[in-house]
Every structure is written in C-alpha cells, then in structure tokens.
C-alpha cells in the first residue's frame, strides 16, 4: 500500500467516526477540582476530628503563613495542572513557574525552621503517624485529578504530574495540619510529606504512561 493511500484511508476512517466534541475549559475544570478537593477535605477533617488546641494554632503566625503558602501553592498548581492538559500550554509558560517557586519557598522555610528549631519529636510508632488520615484526605482528590486530566492531551506529562501532585499534596497537607496535633519540622513537614513524596516518585516514573494519549 502506498503512503498516500494509507493516509487517505486514515483520513476517511477519522472522518467517518467524527462526533461533536465540547472544547475543554481548563479554568472550569480547575474550579471543579478545587471545589471537590476543598469540600471533600473539609468533610474528612470534620469526620476525623479537629486537633486539640486548634484555636491557639490558628492564631500562630507561623501556622497562618504555612497554611497560606500551602493554599497558594495548591491553587496555582491546580491551574497549572489543567492548563498543561492543552497541547499549546506553552503560552502559559510564565505562570507555570509559579507553583514550583512557591513550593521552593516552602522548602526553604522548612530548612530555616530546621536550622532554628532542629528536627523536633519524631514518632516512635511510625504507622500511627496520621498516615491513615493522609490517605483518607488525599485519596479522592488524587483520583479526581487523574480522572479530569486524562480527558486532555498533554505534551508535557512529567510537568503535569508534578503540578498535579503539588496540588493534591498542598490541599491534603492543609487538611492534615487541622487534624494531626504535631507542628515540629520532623513531624509537620518531613513525616507528613513522606506519603506525598513516595507517591510523587511513583507518579513521576509512570507519568508518561499514566497520561499517554
């Protein structure tokens, strides 16, 4: 079969199977996912129960800064994730650096606290360290983002996976800070971030397969 005939056959079969499609709106999808993530996380936090002395913590400036930074990272990473589902996402390149920058600020903040305060208390029994809460809080938003993103056609699957993970981790981490009664660097950052880091590694390696189209 000649190449021209092959291509004509392909065009014929594509035209025969054409169905109307609705153009994707990444902003609407971002909003939808944020609504899902916030309502689900709030419901889970209420179900698990608030941490003791929450009011004291909420008034603490460090706590407010950390939660604010995590929320900003979450919102911007969500937008970046859904913009990256478009093939021509390069027009948002300027914005795509924002979530990573906010995350870097978070990492520097953690290092700074680590230098000043040290590691702090770490759990004796690792399995009881709020990890079940993490799985409960982050599970559904993670599944939702994968479902919504797979409707798109990303040409940068690894960057997309990184931003999706950052979005899920940020909202999940905010939820955990309201239920898990520890604020030391060792607990609040290193150990509570561990499940997200581990899933990040897995998703990072399988991103191309996961978001193949």
């Amino acid at each position: 079969m000649t190449p021209d005939k092959d291509i004509n056959d392909t065009i014929n079969s594509l035209c025969c199977g054409l169905k109307p499609v609705k153009p994707m709106r990444p902003c609407w999808r971002s909003l939808l996912w944020i609504v899902i993530a916030i309502s689900y996380t709030s419901a889970m936090v209420m179900m698990i129960g608030f941490r003791p002395q929450l009011l004291d913590r909420v008034l603490n400036q460090y706590f407010i800064f950390e939660i604010g930074l995590a929320l900003m990272t979450g919102f911007t990473a969500t937008l970046a994730t859904f913009w990256l589902t478009l093939p021509d996402s390069s027009r948002y390149n300027l914005f795509l650096g924002v979530p990573g920058t906010l995350f870097s600020v978070h990492v520097f903040w953690m290092l700074d606290r680590f230098m000043m305060e040290g590691m702090g208390a770490t759990p004796k029994v690792w399995l009881t360290n709020c990890w079940m809460d993490t799985a409960l809080i982050a599970g559904v938003p993670a599944a939702a983002v994968i479902f919504l993103v797979r409707k798109g056609a990303s040409v940068r699957p690894c960057l997309l996976a990184f931003n999706a993970l950052l979005a899920v981790a940020s909202f999940g981490w905010v939820g955990i800070r309201f239920t898990c009664p520890y604020d030391s660097v060792g607990k609040a950052y290193l150990i509570n971030y561990l499940p997200f880091m581990a899933s990040g590694l897995v998703i990072g390696f399988s991103a191309k397969r996961l978001f193949k189209w």
Partner: protein, 180 residues
C-alpha cells in the same frame, strides 16, 4: 502557509468540533502537505515522515476537544507535531533503528565479486546483453534490484500486468539461453 490559511484551518477546526465531517476532511487533507514539509526536514529518512504524519492526524483527532476556538490553530497543531516527532524519534533511537540499515538500501561496490561463480555470472551477463534494452531494464529492476511490480510500473509507465508478463518472458528466455 499564510494568515488566511491559518484562519481557514481555525474555522474548519471549529466546524469539526461541531461534528461537520466534510469540514474535518478538508482540514485533515489540507494539513497533510504542510505536515510532510515540516517533518521531512528533520528526519534522516524521508520515508519516516509519512508514519509521523499519520500519528499526527490520529493525535489531532484524539485531542480535538483541547483546541480552543478563539485561539490560533497553528500553535496548537505545532505542539502536537513536535510532541509526536519527539515520541517517534525516541522510539526510533531506543530500537537502534538509526544504526541499522534496511537490506534493500545496501549498495555494494561494483568491484565486489564472487570469484567462485565468476564464470556463471559472466554467462548471465552475456545472456542479459542479448535482450532488448527495455526488457532488460524491467528484469533488472525487479529481479536484481528488488523493486516490486507496482514500483517498476510507476517508473517505466508500463502496466503492472505488462511488467509481470515481461519478467516472466525474460526468465524463460534466459533459461533457454543458459540451458537451465
């Protein structure tokens, strides 16, 4: 490609999103020459371009819902083209296709000979030399150079069946002359 062409494709893509298969056919057919032109530049083997063109057409189909009607069409298309080309080349290098050569493209130098059968080769060459030029050319293309009947037909302007008949007759003549 000019601005008008881009605008026209943008309109066709919007119609295709609405389910207009004729507009879609016009769009895809119009894209093929442009895609070939773009792709053939960066490839060692121009024949690979057609494979990538097909991949791009399939990707355009799958990603049609990601095209925003208010945005220009070309950046969207080019992002897909670059992605598919990179994908193709990654596979190409992973399978080490760049260091292997298809057997039909190997050209041996004229001075490479097999001395053990030199006399038989000379007999065959002499027998071929007695054939009419056109008949000899068709025979050499199909039996020595490995072209298909269709390819010989394309190059010589003869019909496919005429090519096959000519080769068949030549074979019979050679057998008779060589006494095989």
């Amino acid at each position: 490609m000019n601005d008008n062409q881009g605008k026209q494709w943008q309109e066709l893509a919007v119609k295709a999103q609405a389910g207009d298969s004729e507009a879609y056919r016009e769009l895809l057919t119009g894209l093929v020459p442009l895609l070939r032109r773009i792709l053939v530049k960066g490839l060692a083997r121009p024949s690979d371009a057609d494979d990538i063109v097909q991949e791009v057409l399939l990707s355009v189909h799958k990603a049609l819902n990601t095209y925003s009607p208010e945005r220009p069409f070309m950046p969207w298309l080019m992002a897909i083209v670059n992605f598919r080309r990179a994908d193709y080349l990654r596979q190409h290098y992973a399978m080490r296709k760049n260091v292997t050569v298809p057997v039909e493209s190997i050209e041996l130098a004229d001075d490479v000979t097999d001395t053990a059968h030199a006399a038989e080769y000379r007999d065959v060459e002499n027998a071929l030399g007695t054939l009419p030029l056109k008949q000899r050319e068709v025979f050499e293309m199909m039996k020595l150079k490995g072209f298909t009947a269709q390819e010989v037909s394309n190059q010589t302007g003869m019909s496919v069946s005429a090519v096959k008949v000519s080769v068949h007759r030549t074979m019979a003549k050679l057998k008779e002359k060589l006494g095989v």
